[in-house]
Each structure stands twice: as C-alpha cells, then as structure tokens.
Symmetry: D2
Subunit: 141 residues, 4 copies
C-alpha cells in the first residue's frame, strides 16, 4: 500500500501534532506526565500509518502486535490546556523482533519532554516475541 | 463460589471506597467528570466480586461480558485530590439480558454525583446480546 | 477575534475528527465507553476554538471555566483500534449560565454513540455559577 | 501528625494493593503500559499518607507540589483484568529538592514491571524547584 520508505531519523524525524485537552491535564494545571506516553504512542501509530501500516489490520493479517517493553522519559517543561504540541519519532535501532525509538514533545520550538521507547513484536494470542512482519521491515531498506 | 444473595437496594446499597489521585483530576483542580464513570465501574466490579463473580473468569467460562449501553450522570459537587469517596450500587431492574443500576458518589455525607447505568450482557466475540449467565441470576432470588 | 457566527445546529453540526488509539480501547477490544465523553469534549473544545475561543485564555481573561453538569449517553455500536470517527456538536439550548449540547460519534455513516451534555459556566476559584462571558454569547445572535 | 519514620528500603518496601479494572486494560487484553505510572503514583501517594502527609494539605500549607521529572520503566509480564497487584515503593535517594524512588508491580510473587521515578519538589504557582518541606524531611532521619 506504500512505497519503500526511509526510517525517520534525527535529521528527518516524523512529526505528529497533538492538542492538549482537559482530559490530559491534572490538578497541577499541567499535562499529567503519564499522558506523554499516550502522545508518544499516537505519534508512533501515525508514523506507521504514514507508511501504510494499520496495527489493527496487521494484527488480523499476521497475529502480531507491538508492545512497549521499556520506556525512559525525561520531563523538562510543562504543557498546559490548549497547547499545540508536536510529537516526533526517530528510529534509533531496528532489530528482528524489536525497535528502539527516540521521541520528543515540542511546543513552539521548546522541548518539553523526551523519551526512549523500546517496542517488541509479539504474537497477540501468546504474547510471546515474534519477528516484525516483513511487510514492515521491507518498507525500510 | 457464593451463597444466594439479595440485590443491593436503595435501603441497602453496596458501597465501595475510592481515593482521588492525581490521575483523576484535571486543570480545574477537581475530578475530571468522565472519571466518575470509572469509579462507578470499579464499584460494580467489586459488587460482582463480593457475590463471587469475576468478570475475567465469567468471560472464560461463558464467553459473556457486560457492556455499558446507557449512562445518565448528574454532577452536583466536585471532588478534589486526596478525597475519600464512597461509591454505591443499587440494582433498579434485573432483566434477562440487561440490568439497570443506580449509582452515587459520596464524600463524608455529601452527594457529589449520581447516575443511572444500563448494562447489557453480550457475547465477547460477536458483541451480540445474550442472556445473563445463570450463575449470576441464580445468585439473586 | 472572530466574526459573528451561528450556533451549530441539527442541519449544520460542527464536526471534529477523532482517531482511535490503543489508549482509548479496553480488553473487550473496543473503545472504553467512558472515553466517548473525552471525544465529545475534544469536539466541543474545537468548536469553541473554531469561533475564536480558547478556554485557557477565557479563564485567564474572565476567571470563568465551563464545567459539565449533566451527561446522558447511549452506546449503539462499538469502535475499534484505528477507527476514524467524526464527532458532532449541536447546540440545543443556550441560557445565561449554561448550554445544552447534542453530540454524536460517527464512523463511516454509522452512528456509534450519542449524548446530551449540559455545560455550566462557573467561576474557576469558587466553582459557583456565573454568566457565560459576553465574548461568547455575542458571537451567536 | 505522625511519628518519625524510616524510609521504605529494599529490605522493607512500602506496599500498596491495586486491582485491575476495565479502565486499565487495552485491546491487547492486558493493562495499558502507561497505566503502571498511575499505579506507581497511587502507591507513592499512599506511602506519603502512611507517614501523615496529604499532598493536597501540603500544597495548601506550603505551596509545594511534587512533580515527576524522570521515569524509567521496564515491562516484563502483563497484568489482566481482575488481577490483584502489589505496588512497592523504595526510596533510593533523598535530596533537598528531589528524591529518587524504585517501584515495582507484583502479582502473586511474579514481578510484572519495575521502574525508577525521580520526583522534584516545585512551587505550585511558578513550577520552579523548591526544597522539600521540612515536615517531610524531618519525618525521615
């Protein structure tokens, strides 16, 4: 469904816009820190979609789903209600059954939050590791 | 797993304690209104558990899961971080494939929020309505 | 900041697209029902933004925030991971200190969920009702 | 409000029980990974409460709130609906304006997830770092 692509890199990250709504904030008046993991995941999903991969379709076709195995996040500045954020995705490492991504949240040129996320590919039924389906790896040569 | 029981009623509601954490609040400084639906569901789950029913076990044994089909909630007062709430469950109507529950959130004698929740029993695979498993209905005579 | 507008009506509802991500789903494989209230709120926020109103700015300028006082939601069909939804907003009633909105979630012409939401305007500090700021009401004649 | 205490340590961690509800799960059938950060925070809050500290009261009395500045989480095994978890808290480092905690999620003797969380103390209004209030540090000698 999509042409060969290159992995989003530090020089050319994938970008996805996220708006901050009431649901994202907490009583400190800022975005609840755990929610950046949601923002990061939306961006990863949209990155995959941008190269023609739907996770729901992938699961139905191959039985494989991606699961997060490690997250490291540093919070630098806060985001507030109505803020318009940009979430980036950079692939740092692509392995047979996992990948490591670097992600950041930006607001108008200010870095708010950054993290490293490791994703593993697992069989949805057994939750055991499996190879990333070739329809994904072949997208990136 | 449990002896015959009576349905929790207006005179004898089931009660479940809920503590308000950061995750539950929003930038208004209060509990985000959608989260009362989570509190209500925790109380329903604990009510079922109190009569010996685990939804995960029920699903594995019968293929049935409960889904919410209608909610009506009125918000009267706000809850804040660290508040200790009591969530009540009263069964208002028990039908072959659904039930209607009345639920309330209380803090120290003050009614914060109240709602009516209709739950349907559906087959987990097809999501089509099915009879509430007899292991549940026979609990209540 | 914006020209006079008309209220979104049944014949001309405001529409906001929402994508379903992992964060929105539950172990039933579908969107967790409480999350439609989040989707509805995003659409209301974007409707206000479309006529030039930022809730964060509104709060700083007037001290007023909108709070949800009543919700009635009927769930008809389920949404799944990756689904593209359209959330609509229709103003059914505009009063001095509150408004009642009708909202729906659609997927490719199928109505999934619909609700009525009553919003009150309150002072952020005291949480007591106040008049909807004139910069909002004058937008709609 | 509380007697001098010792910090929860590796040999004597603080423990807080958490039950898995529908709200915590995702379409993979397991607990959504970001939600472990919520579970960890509930345990930290209950640990503070166990030594007499309410964050809401702390904020009103001193203007200080705790914010998370760094999180590192490794996901080992999945939790499912109805699972009864134990969340632990161990203080690894206590500094004037921050602390580093080690936290784990357990189910029946199995380690599901573990993380390191750094918490900073900030002024709620300015969000700038401030010393941890002495009513907290003096609790621990």
């Amino acid at each position: 469904m999509s042409e060969p692509a290159t992995l989003p890199s530090a020089s050319q990250p994938f970008r996805h816009p996220v708006r901050v709504y009431w649901e994202d904030t907490d009583a400190g008046g800022v975005v609840f820190y755990a929610n950046y993991l949601k923002f990061f995941e939306r961006a990863r999903t949209e990155w995959l979609r941008s190269v023609g991969i739907s996770q729901q379709t992938l699961r139905e076709a191959t039985g494989a789903i991606f699961v997060v195995t490690d997250t490291t996040v540093r919070y630098r500045q806060s985001a507030r209600l109505d803020d318009a954020l940009d979430i980036t995705v950079v692939v740092e490492e692509l392995r047979p059954a996992s990948m490591r991504l670097s992600q950041q949240a930006w607001r108008a040129g200010h870095l708010l939050c950054e993290g490293t996320i490791r994703i593993g590919c697992v069989d949805a039924a057994s939750l055991r590791p499996c190879r990333i389906p070739s329809q994904i790896t072949t997208l990136f040569q």
